[in-house]
Amino acid sequence: MHDAAIHAIVILLLGLLLGTAIVIVRMRELWAAVMLTGIYSFLGASWMLLLDAPDVAFTEAAVGAGISTFLMLSTLALTNRRAKPQPGLSPVPLVVVILTGATLIYGTFDMPHYGDPDAPAHRHMAPEFLADEVKHIQDAEHPEGKPVKVDVGNIITSVLASYRGYDTLGETVVIFTAGIGVLLLLRGEPREDPSEDASEEPSEDAP
């Protein structure tokens, strides 16, 4: 009963996601499309939560609801608020998308079932990560030869920050580089600080 209810909820959620995606595609007002991507992110986070991935959902929540809405809106502020209407509809993109989608879905048939304990992902490295997690609970019984490696409550944090420290360092450098890139692009010409002369500027610049 419990599992059936969760499955039904997952299907409803996916249906809502699909509906949101269709609405986003049909929206000509770009800011409204941005707003709807916020809604999409709400639904996506709920769905990830149902798949038992709270850390991914947490990232989605932190980025999707506030920051990404704001960033996309500020991009719109610098470009254009409405999408250009497409003159004619060509069937080629639709065919390409349907073919790609069908191929991807066909590919998932070979993937292990959700939560399958025999899946390669659960047999290769995961037992080692998990074993280190439980070790501190029964630490007293353990023979001395085994080194305790990571002993942090959240497995995700220990995997990300310790086992895959190089990876996370690389990601941090990527964020750093991206930030520097955006700053270099948007600070192209030296502008007057608008905080100082905001009172004069509009009267001079106003058309």
Binding site: H2, A8, L16, V23, I39, L49, A65, L76, P194
Partner: protein, 96 residues
């Protein structure tokens, strides 16, 4: 209890669907933002109920986060629809 949680989740999802319809129809800008506001609240509720249904109460951190972040999204959208940019407007806005 799990049936009650499932019914609650279904009702919340139905409300979300209604809000989504309003967000897509919405004749004025403000209708859409109102629907977004409602959608955010419903997400907070949905996540809380999911946390109870799957017996993982640490999911509530996520609901708390959404309760806070939803407000930021709404303020950003409202400011954008009003001014069209995010630069300082206090001088232009005057005594409005």
């Amino acid at each position: 209890m799990s049936i009650a949680f499932a019914i609650t989740m279904a009702a919340i999802l139905a409300t979300m669907a209604l809000a989504l319809v309003r967000a897509s129809l919405g004749p004025t800008v403000f209708d859409r933002i109102l629907a977004l506001n409602m959608f955010g609240t419903k997400t907070v509720l949905l996540i809380s109920v999911i946390g109870f249904m799957t017996e993982r109460p640490d999911f509530l951190d996520l609901a708390l986060l959404y309760a806070l972040m939803n407000f930021i999204g709404i303020v950003a959208v409202m400011r954008f629809t009003k001014y069209g940019h995010f630069a300082d407007v206090d001088a232009q806005e005057g005594a409005r």
